[in-house]
Symmetry: C2
Subunit: 138 residues, 2 copies
DNA sequence: GTAATTATTTGTAATGATTACACATTTGTA
DNA sequence: TACAAATGTGTAATCATTACAAATAATTAC
């Protein structure tokens, strides 16, 4: 997905393109900040003054169904969206609120005795604490 | 914490005991079902007809501050509470909704290059999918 | 190319778990 | 027993998300 043809990219993924969808995809792709639906709205409604919050919610739902996005539930009352759908961990800094990705050695399902016979569909790993910048400020 | 003296147990943990607090602790201790605040309320308001939802919310907050409970954020719109505050994983079955504990080999903070200099305060691991019972029903 | 059909977007209203708050009740203490 | 502090209660507010119906845009059939 290089360049700026997010329209094309949507088509390729079997999604009917629209300006709203392309802009939302572009934002997610370029700024990899695990935004909430509201973050997306706040950022784009200058560019698309008619944009509706509902459209953002509809779109992230659509993208999630097409596996373009992975919803992150770390805090109650905010769903964040990660355009990297691969398995990795997330660290949320309790001070600055930023989210950092980290490689999670996926021990996988194998070896977990309690989950024998279970079908695992999603794996989530998240840590909380202070990022290094915020640690140093203390 | 054996027997039924949850009053005593609260005192030992530096919490002023009350009937409400003792009953909530008892419920959490005996039924290890990772309930929501509402689950706790639903179960106890027969026994304590005057029980208020707010009391349940206040109490789980208090218990959390005293490290008696660990809040689990797995789905948006529901905070569940686990009386086992040790590090372990949670599996939520998407069919029956039950939550299962599993041992999570804590690779710990060590070895995660991206988190060097970070202060990790909480680790959460949760999976979703179908438990073995629900898998077999298909 | 135009009309008809379908998909997408929009704005407002509803939802529902959690929190705020003010008042009532209970408990501990002098 | 009386007073002060802590705890519990019920109602109202909050706020992210969802439901829904009307408006707009895009696609298809002719």
């Amino acid at each position: 997905m290089l360049g700026t043809d997010f329209f094309m990219e949507l088509s390729n993924r079997g999604i009917q393109p629209s300006i709203q969808r392309a802009k939302i995809l572009e934002f997610l792709w370029k700024e990899r900040i695990h935004p909430t639906a509201d973050d997306i709205f706040d950022h784009l409604h200058h560019e698309i003054p008619t944009l509706s919050r509902t459209t953002v919610y509809n779109t992230v739902k659509l993208f999630t169904e097409h596996n373009i996005l992975q919803p992150l539930v770390i805090e109650d009352k905010e769903i964040r969206y990660d355009i990297d759908t691969s398995l990795h961990g997330h660290f949320k800094c309790e001070s600055c609120g930023n989210i950092f990705d980290f490689k999670a050695d996926n021990e996988g399902s194998a070896g977990i005795r309690e989950l024998e016979g279970f079908q695992i569909r999603e794996r989530h790993i998240y840590f909380k604490g202070l990022c290094s910048s915020c640690s140093n400020l203390k």
